[in-house]
Amino acid sequence: MNNPLKTMTEERIYLYPVWIRLWHLLNAIVCLTLIITGISMQFSNPKFPMIRFNVAVSIHNFAGIVLCLSYILFIIGNLLTSNGKYYKPIISGFFNRLKAQFIYYTLGLFKGKTAPFPVTLERKFNPLQQVTYIGTMYFLVPLSFITGIAMLYPEIIPVRIFWSSGLHFTDLIHITAGFLISVFMVIHIYFCTIGNTPLSNFKSMIDGYHESH
């Protein structure tokens, strides 16, 4: 078994244990599947079917259930291992750190400056990553699967919520959360190219080692 302290070198940190890599892979596949089938259903057109509607529904439902299981795995993993600590923000001075990271991404990066919050064993995420990951993993994903489960069992949804039908309201939240997760995913994939090399972060999710730069 890899010991993070022993395997740490100057450039390489063993940051992603097997369970995180497997979970991340599963999560990536499931989220992509959900986004593609979701778009196919939302914009279904009998003349130009992306995926046949009933097939898209079945796949979407199945992938949704897998996402729930994967989320349970994520929560248990975070409770039992040290991975959970990366999601706990240090409140004091958080906005200043957020600002510093934003300035780095928008200006410093192009001027060849070093990252203000480099990855270490104690800090896997920079403040911007932390805020988006917390928002996604602890707000958007639960919101999407809670509304998703509700739509899987529509009889549990109140007939009316506010101004519209309960089902419509639930779906509106579901597709909004789904859309924001897909935006997160695009940005997440792009930012993964900002590593030691454009592919080094992708490699990290295969071998578990983060290459510092």
């Binding site: 259903m41 009933n54 529904v57 079945s58 519209s164 089902l167 779906d171 792009y190």
Partner: protein, 343 residues
């Protein structure tokens, strides 16, 4: 002075008594032939039992029939035993006053469609042989009803699986109970109620073996099993009418399609409804669409108050916002990438 007596009033009273005697004697002999029960159906206008219906045009006349057919039991005097006999009314012969006076035919007298001989009790046995009028007998070729296109409906019905399989045994009345049927989709704001009302018409036979077997000896197919391919079956059953998938849409002039398709030709393609060009626009939501169809081509708002159809409900503004947001993200990524390349 001797007072002359005036006997005229006495004569009048005597004549009246004689007439009454003759009437009762004749009446009794008719009663005896009729099996010893009271056949008199009062010629007087009966009091309308349910006062809330008394405002209806023929409520008083109809009460002659409804005093027996309007409830689950009826009473008459048995002229043999002189007792009041109470019998149970067959459920098929009970006319619900509320439903009747809310139905399309509420303005009719019972005897407009049924023989006047029904005014006599007990009803003569041969009356059950009377042929019932069909829809076109009244509605066909009449300018007043032209907008309903009854001729088109008749043509579609003749091509329907109901008519083809059961020929003349299957009449309009099988679905449109003349005593209760009322137009619904175009008058009821609540789509769910329209769905429940219209589906109950189908289930009256397809969910009721004794009614189903009036026309066939076959066992009634299990509807839940036959529709087990349908995701969220309950929700579909509550939200759409059977006819959305089981009829062929012909043209816009026919208000409701009547060409019921054979099972194998029913719609099974989800995106026929789950798409922006949902066929529900031409059927279930047709009347609402006419009022509030969005200029953007979506029926957002039309059904959001009652229901939701994935793929058909598309919020124009949400779509626009998401497109703009996504474009900003992509443009941002492109600019950032270019910046990284040329830094």
């Amino acid at each position: 002075m001797v007072k002359s007596h005036n006997y005229r009033p006495a004569w009048i009273i005597l004549v009246i008594l004689i007439c009454l005697g003759i009437t009762f004697t004749l009446g009794y002999s008719v009663n005896s032939k009729a099996g010893g029960i009271d056949t008199t159906v009062s010629k007087e206008k009966p009091a309308v039992q349910k006062t809330q219906f008394s405002s209806h045009k023929h409520a008083i006349d109809n009460e002659n029939c409804l005093k027996c057919h309007g409830q689950s039991k009826y009473s008459y005097q048995n002229t043999e035993s002189k007792k009041i006999d109470t019998k149970k009314m067959y459920s098929e012969l009970i006319i619900d006053r509320t439903l009747f006076y809310e139905s399309n035919h509420r303005e009719f007298k019972c005897v407009d469609c049924h023989s006047e001989d029904y005014n006599t009790f007990p009803h003569a046995g041969n009356l059950r042989m009377e042929s019932k009028p069909n829809c076109l007998d009244c509605h066909g070729g009449d300018e007043k009803y032209a907008k309903f296109h009854f001729e088109n409906i008749e043509k579609q019905f003749q091509e329907s699986v109901h008519s083809e399989k059961h020929s003349e045994d299957f009449t309009c009345w099988m679905c449109h109970n003349p005593h209760t049927y009322k137009i619904n989709a175009r008058t009821n704001e609540n789509i769910k109620q329209t769905v429940a009302y219209d589906n109950a018409i189908c289930l009256n036979c397809h969910g009721n073996l004794s009614n189903y077997q009036l026309l066939t000896d076959k066992a009634n197919p299990n509807l839940l099993q036959k529709h087990d391919w349908l995701p969220n079956q309950k929700l579909h059953f509550r939200s759409v009418r059977c006819i959305e998938c089981h009829t062929k849409k012909i043209n816009d002039s026919t208000l409701v399609a009547h060409k019921i398709l054979p099972r194998e030709k029913a719609v099974r393609q989800c995106d026929q409804c789950h798409s922006s060009n949902s066929q529900l626009l031409a059927t279930l939501y047709k009347y609402k669409i006419k009022e509030v169809r969005s200029a953007k081509g979506f029926f957002e708002g039309v059904i959001s108050n009652d229901s939701y159809v994935i793929g058909a409900n598309r919020n124009y503004y949400l779509n626009l916002i998401s497109l703009v947001l996504f474009s900003i993200v992509i443009i941002g990524i492109i600019i950032h990438t270019v910046g990284r390349i040329f830094k």
